[in-house]
Symmetry: C2
Subunit: 217 residues, 2 copies
Amino acid sequence: MRIGIIGGTGGIGEGIALRLSPFHTVVIGSRETEKAEICCRECEEILQGRGFSCSLIGKTNQEAVDFADFLILAIPYKFLVPTLKELTGLDGKVVVSPVNPLEKTGEFFLFAPPPEGSAAMLAKKLLPSSAKLVVAFNNIAANRWRDLENPLEYSVAVCGDDANAKRQVIELTGTIPNLKPLDAGPLGVAPLVESVTPLLLNLGKFNRLKDVGVRFV
Amino acid sequence: MRIGIIGGTGGIGEGIALRLSPFHTVVIGSRETEKAEICCRECEEILQGRGFSCSLIGKTNQEAVDFADFLILAIPYKFLVPTLKELTGLDGKVVVSPVNPLEKTGEFFLFAPPPEGSAAMLAKKLLPSSAKLVVAFNNIAANRWRDLENPLEYSVAVCGDDANAKRQVIELTGTIPNLKPLDAGPLGVAPLVESVTPLLLNLGKFNRLKDVGVRFV
């Protein structure tokens, strides 16, 4: 499985790369190749220090798309539209969205979806119709992804309309130790998955907890 | 603390009564006193069979309001407006809403809030301005409340605008073994807390799991 991480030099993207690259071929995409290459070398050092061999490749976002069958949109919500408008060649590929549209009012975080109802539905509108969009990895903080000292003891709600692509994402998630993927249903469920993230941010803020995550039990 | 459960003969209401009455004075309210009394006797039998003494009282919903300082709206969303329109004397009381507005489309569950944004904001509009509304207990299935064989190993997200009332609800939640209350912020966070429930129903449906709950970790 060839995995490309769009925005792979950001916190979430780098963390996902660290977790996946011991088991899969991962391309870190960035707006600038050099940034992606630096990130790859850093990740490789971290992983080699922990006894993992890995094959990370630094590329532009477009090169990551061209290389991989499996793309992860590790970008902040505000970059979703410009990023997807620039990229070509996503036809037929599995595209994973961990993107959460949220806002902070003075005091707390809220779900702030576009008129489409979710970041995922907005992404779907911008993707070629043959791309297979799957929502996953929305509710895990960047710091936790990167904290290789600790396994990710979380559930991952996965939703999407293409049963085969959803199954692949569930299997991929299952290769990361301790993560527990769960089928959350079709893509229409995306607002509910994305909404969990501002709730987790509020729970962190109002209880002085860091990087709160979720387990469905 | 005198607790009144509005709609206390329904699954969630009965379950909350079973969990709280060993530690607090609980009045089960219903539209019909007789139904409430039958429910109380059943609960008492269950609890006495487990070595708990308890003081459950069966009343009408209005009598429950008159008796208690602390009311729990254990009613389905569709009964929220008619129930609150009928009741008087809620002034100054703490009112807990575990109510979730949701819909099932053909295939999956969605959050379906009223124009106010959440069941809680709708309730607030109908309550006297001195009532202190707190959102809690939204994400635990009725069957789990009633299953006294097993402790409730869940988190409870609690939100509200009255700091003192919210603290009381957090303390009350903490008296139920293993439940872990967390401050989720002001009442504006209610849509995020209520949205978790349709997500849990979807996770149950698509993974053939029963009564899925949530832990924030």
